[in-house]
């Protein structure tokens, strides 16, 4: 499902514009499955599926599969409706250079929210 993120983000002109100063590679772990997502000036340029031998990323977001599944419901339940809600419950671990993540927090929330069932 994460593969569809590239088109969903890149087709949203406002989101891409919001990320125009953002170029980075970050890691998302959905349970045991790892994904490296590269962004250049707000557009996703590549999404690669692990396992990786030596993945390099600015930061990583790691959560169990069932937690991401709830986050990606079209109407997530309380406690699963936002990345910060997952972090508050200690089920999402944000690690690495988090300045990039926090400086572009709205971008990352909205980009990952693109995988919700309704596609928005």
């Amino acid at each position: 499902m994460i593969e569809t993120l590239k088109a969903r983000v890149n087709d949203d002109a406002a989101l891409v514009k919001r990320g125009r100063y953002l170029s980075t590679t970050f890691l998302v772990e959905v349970g045991e499955t790892a994904w490296l997502i590269s962004i250049f000036e707000g557009r996703i340029t590549s999404i690669a599926r692990g396992p990786f031998v030596m993945p390099s990323s600015t930061f990583a977001l790691r959560a169990p599969e069932e937690e991401w599944a709830k986050f990606w419901l079209s109407r997530p339940p309380p406690g699963s409706n936002d990345l910060m809600a997952l972090i508050k419950r200690r089920v999402l671990k944000a690690e690495g250079d988090l300045q990039v993540f926090m400086a572009n927090l709205r971008y990352f929330k909205e980009a990952l929210g693109k995988l919700r069932a309704a596609g928005a």
Binding site: G79, M84, A103, L105, K109
Partner: protein, 282 residues
């Protein structure tokens, strides 16, 4: 061209707080029992605009909201540019009681949200005789920090953008877009370090877990209203306070988040009106 004015009137009050001159912005509307409103961390009194425009409330209540020092139109006191703003329980209590006295309010109903809900618990415990009743919105006894607060105030992260992005998920899913983004705009407009300074009270200094059970609702009735989608002060945390305080009434508001009066006033007022009616009968 026809224009429409709201019934809200805003004024600047000059008063001394902690031996320093302050210029505090106060808005109000309506007449009757004073209803003193406390805004959330990093925002300002505009959060209560919908209440001030609701005749069902203003026909019996004088609704008053002030911007805390450093917030909204209440500038920081002279000398602020070399200081770090940090809110404490003692400062917050003094600010509220001094402004009440300056306005000549006797036994207002107090309504406070988030940090305002937390200080409402402090006031219910320490100054119950000063209030007719207290309504805590999103009020819990404590919140553990769940992110590095330093990100709220550093030059390589935009303070307004990050403050709004941090709290955006605290708005409930049913909030109308206009109210949701107005609520977030208030966060985007906060001064550098102000949200962080408020959270010093919310997450560190204002912990009242070990004393909250001492609140005596016979001296001041206490009502708690909390939004279902709030993960900062969760419904469980509000219900824990209600469980430990005999006589405290708590209601969880379906579909609402951390900013009920601002993010979705139409739904919020459905929960508030019965509480105000009940207080009116007391």
């Amino acid at each position: 061209m026809s224009v429409r004015f709201e019934p809200i009137v805003g004024r600047y009050m000059h008063l001394d707080l902690f031996g320093r001159k302050h210029r505090i912005y106060v808005e109000e509307a309506g007449a009757g029992t004073p209803l003193m409103c406390l805004h959330t961390a990093g925002a300002d009194g505009r959060q209560y605009r919908a209440l001030m425009n609701d005749e069902r409330i203003t026909r019996d209540h004088r609704v008053i909201a002030f911007d805390m020092p450093w917030h909204g139109k209440s500038s920081p006191p002279s000398g602020w540019h070399n200081e770090e703003y940090q809110l404490t329980s003692a400062h917050y209590t003094t600010i509220i009681l001094e402004i009440m006295a300056a306005l000549g309010l006797e036994q207002p109903i107090l309504i406070g949200c988030s940090i305002g809900g937390r200080i409402a618990l402090h006031l219910a415990l320490e100054h119950p005789e000063r209030f007719r009743a207290i309504i805590g919105l999103q009020a819990g006894a404590h919140v553990d920090p769940y992110y590095d607060l330093n990100f709220l105030h550093r030059p390589d992260v935009h303070g307004g953008e990050v403050a709004a992005a941090i709290v955006s998920g605290l708005v409930g899913p049913d909030a109308p877009d206009e109210a949701r983004w107005e609520t977030l705009w208030h966060y985007m407009q906060g001064g550098p370090g102000v949200f962080k300074g408020d959270l010093y009270f919310y997450k560190l200094d204002g912990d009242i877990r070990d004393r909250v059970a001492q609140i005596d609702t016979r001296r001041c009735p206490l009502f708690l209203l909390s939004g279902e989608y709030d993960y900062s002060c969760t419904p469980e945390e509000t219900l824990a306070v209600a469980k430990s305080v005999p006589g405290c009434e708590a209601t969880i508001m379906t579909g609402l988040g951390h900013f009920p009066m601002s993010e979705n006033p139409t739904e919020f007022v459905k929960y508030l009106l019965p509480v105000l009616e009940k207080i009116g009968r007391m």
